[in-house]
């Protein structure tokens, strides 16, 4: 009899913090205590709280253990599995709360992540036990393609890859498009820095994507699908390959699915990791074996995509929603969310927030709930300053906009975008100019170089920002940034260039004073930009250890060992920060000039 079930997260984040070793240690300890027949270990996909990994969840009680190390395994086995009392020092919180009692989970609403963290992604049986492939079966045996498309349209699902295009409308365009064969493509390029929503779904529930694509194939009249996935996702690729083999073996992919006339199979295509290859026309070029460069639309891929044929391209998370819409009904799906943004959205929380990781929330939740209730707010000692939402093409929203609902239209109205779901929380130690510069550097590096506004425009904006953070900004620079930004938005060929100015334009809009301080006062209010800070030694904290003087390459840090306080002569200081790093007593302060 299996008395205990242990769900062990084997997502990429937990694997990199050592979940494999924890698993081996647990198996050793279980063997040593002869508990193997009583305890079942299940490798699952990402559970969400990645910062706390490796994590494991013990049922039937629902005890959540965090930051588990291999050395803890024996203790868990003895204390919990043998003696029946949870190991207190590894609990998420005092009192062994169950997941639904932990705020991080309580405010979430898991639909596409439902199976992530609960089933073994490498076992098709577990997927089927959770209702897997039932939606596909229903679609091909008892619905017409038109009915499937109508259900998706009625659900109000919009694309999760960034732009939020109505999915039902897109399917209908491909369904009625002239030309055979047609293709179904899954965009798993996920190039936003810090985003890992799609990776987690592919690693934790790969069959849900295959099923969504097969349903799409039936609806639009395609018999071949491609998953375009970045080669940097080896675990997701491996699990997709396992899933594909299992699905073919059971006949839910391949010839005559569910003994109907519908045949559908899927191939993987690996991308080399260029951000622009996530743009749909560049992605198509890449699959075709050409240089990954966007082309003007129209014609859209729906009428002329892969090899010039009608092609449906959707994002991973979009496909993951499909089976739920058919199983629960489009109305149930549409009951969650706001008027124009239905269902849930997965976000990757990162930056200065207590609970970083992966969360899924109903559309329309406020930024405040996302950042504070679920994310746990900014760690002690610092203040919330802004949230960058939508990745490098997104915008930066200040605390006065924390009550904005997270939906496609509200976010874009305020100069941000839903994007694919990257959320970076910034605290008051962040320089907004420097941050905008960072994102622009990213898009400038990733620009494919095809069109002039993006290729050269990003460089010109970057040159201005470089000047500003170096303390050499001019008054007219701000207007220039706005002009180039507007030009790029309107004139660039693809979404990369059209959205690249967003971080700059949104910080100019919400934090103009910070730009002005850099330019007029030659000062970085957050104390970040190296040229615009001053190092000072706090006389009360200095113990006269001499570490700063020895570290300083220019002799700016001065004093006599044992005779505090030391001093920094600003005229000699080259702002390298060596003293700041060297001081063991945190006596060196970095301040705005």
């Amino acid at each position: 009899m299996r008395r205990i079930q242990v769900l062990l997260c084997s997502g990429t984040a937990c694997q990199s913090s050592g979940s494999e070793r924890v698993k081996r240690a647990l198996l050793d300890a279980l063997t040593a205590h002869d508990l193997l027949p009583e305890v079942q270990l299940v490798d699952t996909g990402c559970m969400g709280p990645c910062e706390l990994g490796p994590v494991l969840l013990v049922y039937p009680e629902g005890t959540f253990y965090v930051k588990v190390q291999p050395d803890d395994a024996a203790e868990i086995v003895i204390e919990h599995f043998l003696k029946g009392r949870p190991l207190r020092r590894l609990l998420w919180a005092e009192g062994a709360p169950q997941p639904h009692e932990i705020p991080f989970f309580a405010r979430q609403r898991k639909l596409v992540l439902r199976n992530c963290g609960t089933i073994d992604p490498e076992k098709i049986e577990e997927y089927i036990a959770s209702g897997g492939y039932e939606a596909l079966g229903r679609a091909v045996t008892s619905m017409t393609p038109t009915e499937v498309v109508a259900a998706i349209s009625r659900s109000g699902l919009r694309g999760r890859g960034g732009a939020g295009f109505p999915t039902g409308t897109k399917w209908e365009l491909v369904r009625v498009a002239a030309g055979v064969p047609k293709y179904v493509v899954c965009n798993a390029d996920e190039g936003d820095p810090g985003a890992f929503m799609d990776r987690a779904i592919l690693e934790g529930d790969p069959h849900s994507i295959l099923e969504g694509m097969a349903i799409a194939g039936y609806a639009v009249g395609a018999s071949r699908g491609y998953v375009y996935i970045r080669a940097e996702y080896p675990l997701a690729i491996q699990r997709l390959e396992v899933a594909l083999a299992q699905a073919r073996k059971l006949g839910v992919l391949g010839q005559r699915i569910f003994e109907t006339d519908f045949s559908f199979d899927i191939e993987l295509r690996m991308g080399a990791g260029a951000f622009v290859c996530g743009e749909e026309t560049a992605l198509i070029a890449s699959i075709e074996g050409r240089r990954g460069e966007p082309r003007p639309r129209p014609p859209y891929p729906a009428t002329s995509g892969l090899w010039g044929k009608p092609t449906l391209i959707n994002n991973v998370e979009t496909y993951a929603n499909v089976r739920h819409i058919l199983l629960d009904g489009p109305e149930a799906f549409a009951s969650v969310g706001t008027e124009k943004s239905k269902g849930t959205k997965v976000f990757a929380l990162a930056g200065k927030v207590r609970n970083t990781g992966l969360v899924e929330v109903p559309m329309g939740i406020t930024l405040r709930e996302l950042v504070f209730d679920i994310g746990g707010g900014v760690p002690t000692g610092r203040e919330f300053k802004a949230v960058q939402i939508g990745g490098p093409s997104g915008g930066c929203l200040p605390s006065s906009l924390l009550d904005v609902p997270v939906d496609y239209d509200s976010l874009s109205q305020h100069g941000a975008i839903m994007g694919s779901g990257g959320v970076i929380i910034l605290d008051d130690a962040t320089c907004m100019v420097n941050m905008a510069r960072f994102f622009l550097q990213f898009t400038a590096d990733e620009s494919c170089g095809k069109c002039v506004p993006c290729r050269v425009g990003t460089q010109m904006m970057l040159a201005i920002l470089d000047r500003i953070v170096a303390g050499e900004g001019k008054e007219e620079d701000l207007q220039r940034l706005r002009e180039i930004g507007e030009m790029m938005k309107n004139a660039s060929l693809c979404g990369l260039g059209q959205t690249a100015p967003n971080p700059v334009l949104s910080t100019l809009r919400y934090f103009p004073a910070e730009y002005e301080a850099h330019i007029r006062d030659r000062s970085c209010p957050a104390g970040v930009c190296p040229n615009l800070v001053r190092y000072r030694i706090d006389p009360d904290a200095c113990r006269g250890c001499d570490a700063c003087r020895r570290a300083c390459p220019t002799g700016a840090a001065q004093g006599t060992a044992g005779a505090p306080p030391y001093q920094i002569v600003d005229e000699r200081c080259i702002r390298c920060g060596a003293c700041f790093d060297a001081c063991p007593f945190d006596a060196v302060r970095k301040e705005p000039r």
Partner: protein, 233 residues
Amino acid sequence: MISLRIDDTPVQAKPNWTILTAARAAGIRIPTLCHLDALRPVGACRLCLVEIRNWNGRLVPACATPVQEGLDVVADSDRLASLRRTILELLFAERNHICAFCVSNGHCELQDLATELGMDHVTFPYRFPALAVDASHAKFGIDPNRCVLCGRCVRACSEVEGAFTWGFAGRGVHTLIEADLGEPWGQSTTCTGCGKCVQACPTGALFEKGKATAEQVKRPALLAEVTERRPRA
């Protein structure tokens, strides 16, 4: 036939035409740079951007956008003129376009566009990347400092000559036109020495050796002439 309006003039177009073709047929001039008759449109330079009133004022490249029934196109406006000037300025600032020192001075499409659009000075800082000239080919040379990355050479070489010698390397502002896989042009095993790329090039980036500036007149129309009788897809 398809009916559309360009600058408030009713225009008739064949279904497979682009907005540019329709405009030209109606005698309406739209500036272009990366476009060249006979080569596939790429919509890269963005100088031919026109505004579509009934698409919420969206800007699209005339050279690469198929005509559609009822399109209401603005091909000339203050907004477009200023945008086109900015794009030209960006091109001038990107590499090295000091005309007085160029083999194509007087016969350069970039220079002509600047005159046409009234772009008489550059307000952006020049980048001057100092790229190496490749003069290894017996008949021709390439000076990447004059290149605007329009890709006309690449398309002439692959689509018309079928040699596939030229290609893009690198990305963003570091993009370069390269022969074969970055070999010196003179050592290329695919180049047939036909010179179509040189004729297609709008600037002095690709040039003929042993010709003085005054003789360095190109014949971009050559591409259309040699493909005229070919069956089209």
